[in-house]
């Protein structure tokens, strides 16, 4: 009996030590995260899969007054879901220039755009002072490491924009092959993030399931490895 008690004590001690070591490792990981944040943009991007940063750009009006009330609301909604999933979020809404987008996109894991898009050979995104084309993305030193979610019309009409991001290192690109209604997009996109980041499903499953109960947005496309 005493031997068993000693064995239990020994095991409890081992567990305690393992726990202490895990806490130490967690501290090291945390300090690495802080260190990465202080690195140059280029190097931080290399390691950005460890840094949970997200950028949400909602309702840029484009050159004409293309205000999208659904996209405006979506910005806040996606920010909330990302924060619940422990992402540090930068949110900008109108006014949003090309430069605002490209600068804030740097060193993020996830970038979500809710606004205007179109296609003329290449897919492009519309901002208050002009458009962003795949060539602009290719010229960046840093793109989102995990996901570029193009919640815009025709953002997946072809693979030009998706390839620009993915060739630079973005793992997933989500776009839509057709024009998408403003408010439908808000509900659909929110559902996707909820299922992906909160319920822990794969991004493809999250899109599939959101589409089951929101077929108005069944024109989504996911480019992934």
């Amino acid at each position: 009996m005493t031997e068993e008690k000693n064995e239990i004590k020994r095991l409890a001690k081992d567990i305690f030590e393992i726990k202490a070591k895990l806490v130490d490792y967690a501290k090291v990981l945390l300090s690495i995260e802080y260190y990465l944040e202080s690195l140059s943009a280029k190097w931080a991007n290399v390691f950005s899969i460890f840094v949970k940063g997200a950028f949400v750009c909602a309702d840029p009006h484009a050159l004409s007054n293309g205000h999208l009330p659904g996209a405006y609301d979506e910005g806040q909604q996606i920010e909330d879901v990302l924060e619940r999933a422990d992402y540090g979020v930068t949110l900008i809404r109108h006014p949003a220039s090309k430069d605002d987008f490209l600068t804030n996109m740097s060193n993020k894991s996830i970038v979500h755009l809710a606004g205007h898009g179109s296609v003329s050979g290449d897919v492009y995104f519309l901002f208050d002072d002009g458009n962003i084309y795949p060539a602009d993305i290719r010229a960046q030193s840093s793109v989102p490491s995990l996901l570029m979610y193009a919640g815009v019309c025709l953002g997946g009409a072809n693979d030009t924009m998706a390839n620009a991001f993915r060739d630079k290192g973005t793992k997933y690109y989500v776009g839509f092959t057709r024009t998408i209604p403003d408010w439908d997009a808000k509900y659909f996109d929110d559902l996707v993030y909820e299922k992906w980041l909160i319920e822990g499903k794969s991004l493809r499953t999250a899109l599939d399931e959101a589409d089951d109960i929101y077929p108005a947005l069944d024109c989504w496309v996911l480019w992934e490895d």
Binding site: Y173, D212, Y214, D218
Partner: protein, 160 residues
Amino acid sequence: MNEEEIDNKVREFISKKLKVEDARLAPEIGKKKRSWSPGLLREVIEVKARAADQSMIVRLDGETQETIGWRYTDRAIASRTVNLSKEEAFELAESEIEIPFDAEIDSVELLNRGTPGKTYSVKWKHIVDGLEVEGDFIVVKINPRTGEVISVTKNWSVVT
């Protein structure tokens, strides 16, 4: 309908869909979630269930408890390649769900889903006195490569 009755309803439905004949393999009911669906404009009860090594998600109308959708999340069917045509996809969709008399085929589309994969989407619309009932639809999704139904969603109003 109380929770137990809902569980039994889902069990019976899944046994039928997954062709579970052995009573010892009765489906286990998993997580149940009630939420407002902006897409379907109603409260939806989503039930996860498993039978042997297969699983499904079944969606019920929160008010009437009518089955309004299901998704096969894990099937025990051996993987095969059939490459369905549009006509075959339509026939398969028709065999998956009872189509109401006032339904009219809307589209059979092969949707691009990026890399990898494509999905057939077979859609019906609801027509009453020659007019389309807005927001009503039946959608059956099919994997064209394996010829398996992926999911079904039915949003159908009673029109008086």
